[in-house]
Amino acid sequence: MNADDPATTDAKTGATMDSTMAANKAELVEFARKGGALVTGVADAGAFAAAMAGQRPTDLLPEAKTVIVVGGAPPRAGDWQVPNYLHMETTSTSDRMFALANRIAQFVERRFGYYAVAVPSGVDRARQPFLSLALAAELAGCGTPSLAGPVLNPEHGFLYFAALLTSLPLPVDGPLAEPVCPAPECRTMWDEQGTTPCLAVCPIDAGGCLGGRLENGRVAERRYDVARCTTRAQNSFIPGFQKALEAVFDEPDKERRRMILWGSQFTRTLWSMSYSNVSQCQCFECMRVCPAGRARRELR
């Protein structure tokens, strides 16, 4: 870039576009870090060619140039140790990242004067995400996709991600060069047993959700039973409520109907929905056994 070119030079400060963008990015990364982000990355809004139509940045913000991704708020080391699975499904912290994305969006508009839209954490009318957060996190260099599904960060392993779209041009990070999954331990396990920790705990061919194959130390194939994962990850959220309600409607006996209606499962679906977004992720078993980021989970 030529600093003498007026098109690439800030008229007020004389700074080149490159240095201005880098300074803006540094300011945003620091803002995100202070807000609780463990990782922050920037993806090119035009790099989402592999995403399903309707789930690309410009579908939500036509002027989008970049996608800022923040990751953090993972379950704490102690949370992973609790033997009662209900603990983690009741104390999920994913909403913290979405709140942070909203704050960054506000900061971008106020500080830089560019459009910014936080990607909704929920789904649209067709139960589809507005943007694939996994793809955004991957393209922003915050981690790489895993055999189990979640994007894993090399240092932290499992994290919650949120994203915002903006018309603000920023230097792009791009995907990481090396995949986090499979971890070295998983590659050895595959070589010796033909499986990995996540596949072993939740095997698709034996009543679980996950299948796949490693080849030359990389994920070569993947199968994922979305519907079964829903029965586990959203057991008492809206899908669970719909199933329980159907059971109530189908039960002709008034007393039995009351047993279902006032019983533990139906009641938990109501608690879950009233807590709303903090209870959507209710199954952590594939991530519980994942060795990525394990150093941060091993305490005394």
Partner: protein, 111 residues
């Protein structure tokens, strides 16, 4: 008028095809796989075009079929699975499944 919903006969006729095309069970869906290996599911609009249906009809069929796919028993089994997996992990410690591989990696690093 009521809520828009799909005629049950239309639902029964198309639900298996819609689930198959949308990949209720994803096979090589992830974006990072090589293009020649990747088989992403189709969007509702793409499925509608392929089956000659309205996009809204496909969306409703998919949403209902995804919920119908597993019976309530599977939801009960999910509770048993999580209870068992979580307690087993608590007994064996961090990454119990990979323990020996982690120990081996640590030993190799120490040399």
């Amino acid at each position: 008028m009521g809520f828009f919903h799909v005629d049950p006969a239309v639902y029964r006729e198309y639900k298996d095809r819609v689930l198959e095309l949308s990949q209720a069970i994803q096979i090589n869906y992830p974006e990072h796989l090589p293009p020649e290996k990747r088989k992403p599911g189709l969007s509702d609009r793409q499925i509608a075009a392929q089956l000659g249906l309205d996009e809204r009809v496909v969306r409703e069929i998919r949403c209902v079929a995804e919920r119908e796919y597993y019976p309530a028993d599977e939801w009960e089994r999910a509770l048993e699975f999580k209870e068992r997996a979580c307690r087993e992990f608590a007994q064996t410690g961090l990454a119990g499944v990979t323990k020996k591989y982690i120990q081996r990696a640590k030993a190799a690093k120490a040399k």
